[in-house]
């Protein structure tokens, strides 16, 4: 049972630094050798992978004191590595296959597109993860996105647009409608939290009820004369800039979407909340053992209320960004986003039984879905097949994940 080799963590880390450095140099060399019309940005990706390996090695070296000094290599640890990272490995295989079929996939621009498309999804997934961490769920996410989109755009149309929602509204500062939109979402979020915390309702039912209410309220608002359920258009440029600005647009480089740094900002913020605050610890505690949390004096009511308010804030932000990106809104915006967000979280290792889940996992879960969607589209696979593949991935990912916890 115990065969296999053990390696000093130090040499393990150094191996990573070494290979990483070689890959990085190779990347730079290849940049001058390879024909850019055939392999596109491949050298840059090799350079990137090399740098990542170096960073990992350095991390192992400096943080190694808290870890075991040796690493064992055996059939067992290999198997554990495979089950723990199965989805990531499958994703890499998929990327390599796509790259062979369609070398144009190897472009920095493709990577940036994928990151841009992931941005709003990630923000919504990071909102929903709190509800999942307390073994609940939040079905109202998608409708809140729609609500925020409709409210924000309704007050932000250009003065010359024919079909204005508020014909006589002057040019108000951009932040006012954004705050109004997010505040409306947070109001419904508070209702979610109140129903769950006060009446001990299962979040599935509480948020289902609120979801239906939001859609109704949003549709009523959308149907107000003179708009009468017309799609909202003619959105002001200073608002769409929030979703469409491209940074560092130099020469042929298409620039980086502003959505990427925004998503990074919110990711860091949520990571901080989950790992470095009393609130985050209480979320994990309630998810891990609610009874014990009550006995320990955790304010369960306040925590749950705050979970749903924070989540609705994130959906509101997501809705505003979606509206800005697409420069418009209807009451059907965001429909079904919650299922995508839940699926991303689960594929990223968040347990539906509560208490288990990391921000890193959620980020990779979201990226996996976007890469699959984008990649399959790239090699011309029909959207119907894409749906099937997406479903298979969810099922396989969760099956592998569950096998980790199964007792033998």
């Amino acid at each position: 049972m115990q065969e296999g080799k053990t390696v000093q963590r130090r040499s393990f880390a150094l191996a990573f630094v070494g290979t990483g450095a070689v890959l990085a140099v190779l990347g730079i060399l290849l940049h001058f050798i390879l024909d850019a019309t055939k392999t596109f940005d491949l050298p840059w990706f090799i350079l990137g992978i090399g740098l990542a390996a170096v960073l990992y090695g350095v991390f192992q070296l400096t943080k190694g004191t808290r870890l075991t000094p040796t690493i064992a290599f055996s059939g067992k640890t290999a198997k554990r590595f495979l089950t723990n990272n199965a989805i990531m490995l499958a994703l890499m295989v998929l990327i390599v296959v796509i790259c062979f079929l369609e070398p144009r996939f190897m472009q920095i621009q493709v990577l940036l597109d994928i990151l841009t498309q992931s941005s709003t999804r990630l923000i919504i997934a990071l909102g929903i993860c709190f509800a999942l961490l307390i073994a609940g769920t939040d079905l109202s996410a998608g409708r809140m996105v729609g609500l925020a989109a409709v409210i924000s755009t309704s007050m932000l149309q250009t003065a010359t647009y024919a079909n204005r929602f508020y014909p006589d509204l002057p040019q108000i500062p951009v932040f006012i409608p954004i705050i109004a939109a997010i505040a409306a979402c947070m109001l419904f979020g508070a209702l979610n939290g109140f129903l769950v915390a006060k009446y001990d309702m299962h979040p599935f039912i509480a948020t289902l009820a609120v979801q239906v209410m939001i859609y109704g309220a949003c549709s009523l608002y959308f149907d107000l004369p003179p708009n009468n359920s017309q799609p909202i258009g003619g959105v002001r440029a200073d608002f769409t800039a929030l979703g469409q600005t491209r940074l560092f647009q130099i020469g042929s480089f298409n620039g980086i979407s502003i959505l990427i740094p925004i998503a990074v900002l919110f990711t860091v913020a949520i990571w901080f909340v989950l790992n470095k605050t009393v609130f985050g610890k209480n979320v994990y505690a309630i998810g891990g053992n609610r009874e014990a949390a009550v006995v320990s004096g955790v304010n369960v009511f306040k925590t749950i209320l705050f979970i749903f308010i924070l989540a609705s804030f994130m959906y509101g932000v997501g809705g505003v960004l979606e509206a800005a990106r697409t420069a418009g809104a209807t009451n059907n915006y965001g429909n079904g986003y919650e299922t995508d967000a839940i699926a991303s979280c689960v594929v990223g290792g968040v347990s539906l039984n509560g208490g288990i889940g990391t921000v890193g996992g959620i980020v990779s879960g979201v990226l996996i879905f976007t890469v699959i969607q984008y990649g399959l589209q790239f090699i011309g696979i029909s959207p119907m097949w894409q749906q099937i593949i997406k479903g298979v991935i969810i099922a396989v990912a969760v099956a592998i994940d569950m096998s980790k916890y199964k007792r033998k």
Partner: protein
């Protein structure tokens, strides 16, 4: 059939990182009661799970009924004639008792379940084991002890050749234990063998024919029960001398009243009513009583987990109203609950997180954690409890029961309580760790804290408490001084209102 109905030879079972069983042997004669003993973590439950098809052994052989067997599932075990009463009961609460019993083998008529036949079979079964429960009542409405008896009846209903009983008496009163023994003798006379796991020495010596002792996953030996005494068993279980089960008292309890409970009542008429008592500074007040005496409910109410409708509570001479756990905590109360796993530990969180959870706010500024302070407090608190753990990052679920209990005490010490309420502090903890918990209790008293200890174990109650308060059916039936308290007195008060 040979001399034995069951032979488990040289059984080995490895879990990641631990050898849970290392060449264990167990041989059971037909129609005998074979006790399996060992400290927690000695591997008793693991061995039984191998026999019952829940785990699969990595080495060794199982010979049952004269043939070598591999048992892969619990169903195979049941079909062979091995049934098991689990340590923890998992009834389907919203279904009738009888459905819980016949689950998976309902009497059928065509494609439909034959309800009449099921009622009849259940009644016959209950008559056989002398149990008076309506087969159609919902399982969730039964008391813990009745559930346990139903579970025993269920095991009997399989007509097995061997019944494994894993701590069957942990929620039974003395009378019910007697009842169980009657059932066991009846089963024995039919040739059924019992494997009996328990921590209660007196019980083991009374009911069993042979005793197998395990220690740290290894086989220590098998002896006829006649040749054993409590001391001998403990000796062989822990591998060291344990002449004293309780540390010597080196303190004198104070007389100053720190907590005055005056006539408190629950809104539920069947729960605690008109409870009054004083807790003195630096004493251990034991609360004795039978299961259902509402002791747990009463202390949970003091801790803000349940409602109190009338009466008052004074702490240090000042009235205090408890509306929530946070109030109780702020007033220096701490509670270690009876159900460690259900309402104490966070299994999937680290030791550090488990330790600081009740005092989280002390290690944060404006809601942001102060990692260094937090880690240091968790580490020091656990070191003072002598918790055995490889690191503060270790997951709670990987610790033994005794160490988990130490982490829970460490948790509450961080809230700087002056009154600790310990509800069954040593339940499910092995002998060695029990002694450590007792020592910790004495240390806490010496630091000027006071302790309320609920215990259903008579020796613990008499050995540890400075005064013993006894409850029966929600009322206080007496408070005995250390000199007055003996098992007869306590039992008399615990059954004061019963027939």
């Amino acid at each position: 059939m040979g001399e034995y109905v069951l032979e488990m030879n040289n059984i080995t079972k490895v879990f990641p990182g631990v050898k849970a069983l290392d060449g264990v042997t167990l041989k059971v004669r037909p129609g005998s009661v074979h006790a399996l003993m060992g400290e927690n973590g000695a591997g008793k439950s693991t061995l039984m799970k191998c026999l019952f098809g829940i785990y699969h052994e990595d080495g060794g052989e199982i010979i049952f009924d004269g043939k070598k067997r591999t048992i892969n599932t619990s169903k195979e075990a049941l079909d062979l004639g091995i049934s098991m009463i689990h340590q923890e009961l998992h009834p389907i609460r919203f279904r009738p008792v009888m459905e819980n019993i016949w689950l998976g083998r309902f009497p059928m008529r065509g494609i439909a379940v034959n309800k009449k036949a099921m009622i009849k079979q259940t009644k016959e079964l209950f008559k056989e084991v002398d149990l008076d429960i309506d087969p159609e009542v919902l399982a969730g409405t039964l008391s813990a002890s009745n559930l346990q008896l139903v579970e025993i009846a269920k095991a009997v209903s399989y007509n097995s050749k061997i019944i494994i009983m894993d701590e069957p008496t942990s929620s039974l009163t003395d009378n019910e234990t007697e009842h169980l023994f009657k059932i066991i003798r009846q089963l024995q006379s039919k040739g059924c063998a019992i494997i009996y796991i328990s921590h209660k020495m007196e019980e083991i010596l009374k009911i069993s024919d042979e005793v197998t002792i395990m220690r740290d996953g290894q086989y220590v030996g098998t002896w006829p029960a006649k040749e054993l005494t409590t001391d001998l068993i403990i000796n062989r279980m822990v591998g060291r001398d344990m002449t004293n089960r309780f540390p010597p008292k080196t303190y004198t309890p104070g007389t100053e009243v720190v907590l005055k409970v005056d006539d408190i009542c629950s809104p539920l008429p069947k729960s605690f009513q008109h409870v009054s008592f004083d807790l003195h500074k630096g004493e251990i007040l034991g609360i004795g009583g039978l299961v259902g005496a509402q002791r747990t409910e009463m202390v949970e109410a003091l801790f803000g987990l349940r409602e109190i409708v009338s009466g008052k509570v004074e702490k240090d001479g000042k009235p205090f109203h408890i509306k929530s756990v946070r109030d109780a905590k702020a007033h220096g109360l701490a509670l270690l609950t009876e159900e460690r796993r259900a309402s104490g530990v966070f299994g999937i969180l680290s030791i550090e997180d488990n330790t600081v959870i009740a005092a989280q706010k002390d290690f944060a500024r404006n809601g942001v954690l102060q990692e260094g302070k937090r880690y240091k407090a968790a580490k020091e608190s656990n070191e003072s409890m002598r918790t055995k753990t490889p690191s503060m990052e270790e997951l709670m679920q990987n610790l033994s029961g005794g160490n988990q209990q130490k982490v829970l005490i460490a948790r509450w010490l961080l809230t700087h309580p002056d009154i600790l309420i310990l509800d069954e502090p040593t339940r499910g903890i092995d002998v060695g760790a029990k002694y450590e918990i007792y020592t910790i209790m004495h240390d806490l008293i010496k630091e000027g804290k006071s302790i309320i200890m609920i215990s259903s174990e008579m020796p613990e109650l008499l050995g540890m408490a400075d005064r013993v308060m006894v409850m029966c059916e929600g009322r206080v039936t007496g408070i005995l001084s250390r000199e007055e308290a003996d098992s007869v007195q306590v039992m008399r008060l615990a059954t004061a209102f019963m027939k």
